[in-house]
Subunit: 183 residues, 2 copies
DNA sequence: CCCGAATGAGACACCCACGTCTCATTCCTG
DNA sequence: CAGGAATGAGACGTGGGTGTCTCATTCGGG
């Protein structure tokens, strides 16, 4: 039964996150199905990537919901956000680099929705005095994505321990590298 | 005459940094030469990417030299480093994502040399008390690359003003997003 | 148990980019 | 100015991945 289109998608995500040039045949094999069946689910490679994009956006919308970005201070929300994002960090890294390719061809509007939520979070933090105002929310959003992606790769490559994922990102993002003088 | 093999390389870098899937034909056109001539300079696409890798490594080694990573405090050196890296930020972004593809096939050892220098810088900062010790130098190095790459993309996409490049990276990296309480 | 739907394996043609080659033209040098 | 080297344009064959199709097999529901 066509039950596990979603499972196929997740297997594809797992593979493509690590090897973005994987063949349709490799994707099919990774998902434990035949190439023909893969094509029955997704018209072509492009459609597969788009579906992956949708999956990623869905996942992150759920993650954002779970992180309750509106509750507590922005800093607290940010901590929750990173924690919720961790399971899909690799997928994010894949999609971000993949998106560089979609030159003009209408980018999925889901990204704009997600961006808006993160930007709003940073802006709220700025208004409440928790976050510095000399760094634009748009840049902070980009930087957040970048750090999550970088850390995901670093974990895959063994340069960062998986258990340190959240700590490394959050601590760097919140406090920077400089050692506080007065603390 | 084969005068501008280096110029060809830079044109290729400029194009491939933005469109990593560009055709050899597009690369040639971007460099203002014929595809045949391009092949006379670089045996194939692979050789081109390798040459680009060498170029990037060379550029960054020069940048690191100019940044005088051993002088002054680590924080000062970091500022100089980001400033020196700016002209080649896009190239770095391209090479970093491209490197994800070179699965096992011996990665250029130049990266290890560069990494070692940055890691040494962070370690020096930690020993001198300027940089916090709860974030590993390896991660800080990855994060630095990630932020440079992210900011380069953000500039290309118009989400960050080019003139803010250094400031955005350095300020975020040094101080984080949190607004100092006592400042 | 039987029948239909879904699947896997493979064959097949297609397309695009690659790499090679040729040839006329341009450019530099002597 | 003449000759040789380098170049650009294009033709050509090739390979690898894609997308479609067929057919035998398996699976699941009636």
């Amino acid at each position: 039964m066509a039950m596990d289109r979603d499972q196929v998608l997740r297997d594809a995500a797992a593979l493509l996150s690590r090897k973005s040039t994987a063949t349709m045949d490799e994707v099919a094999r990774a998902a434990g199905i035949g190439r023909a069946t893969l094509h029955r689910h997704f018209a072509g490679r492009d459609a597969l990537v788009r579906a992956l994009e949708d999956l990623g956006i869905r996942e992150f919308e759920v993650a954002f919901d779970n992180a309750r970005l509106d509750e507590g201070t922005a800093v607290e929300a940010l901590r929750r956000l990173v924690a919720e994002a961790e399971p899909n960090a690799e997928l994010l890294a894949f999609l971000v680099t993949e998106n560089q390719l979609f030159e003009g061809d209408e980018v999925n509007e889901g990204w704009a929705r997600l961006d808006a939520r993160v930007i709003a979070l940073f802006r709220r933090g700025q208004e409440e005095g928790d976050i510095r105002i000399d760094l634009s929310p748009a840049w902070l959003t980009e930087a957040l994505y970048g750090l999550i992606g970088s850390c995901a790769w670093a974990v895959v490559d063994g340069r960062v321990a998986a258990k340190d994922f959240q700590y490394m990102i959050i601590e760097l993002l919140l406090g920077g590298v400089r050692r506080s003088v007065e603390k």
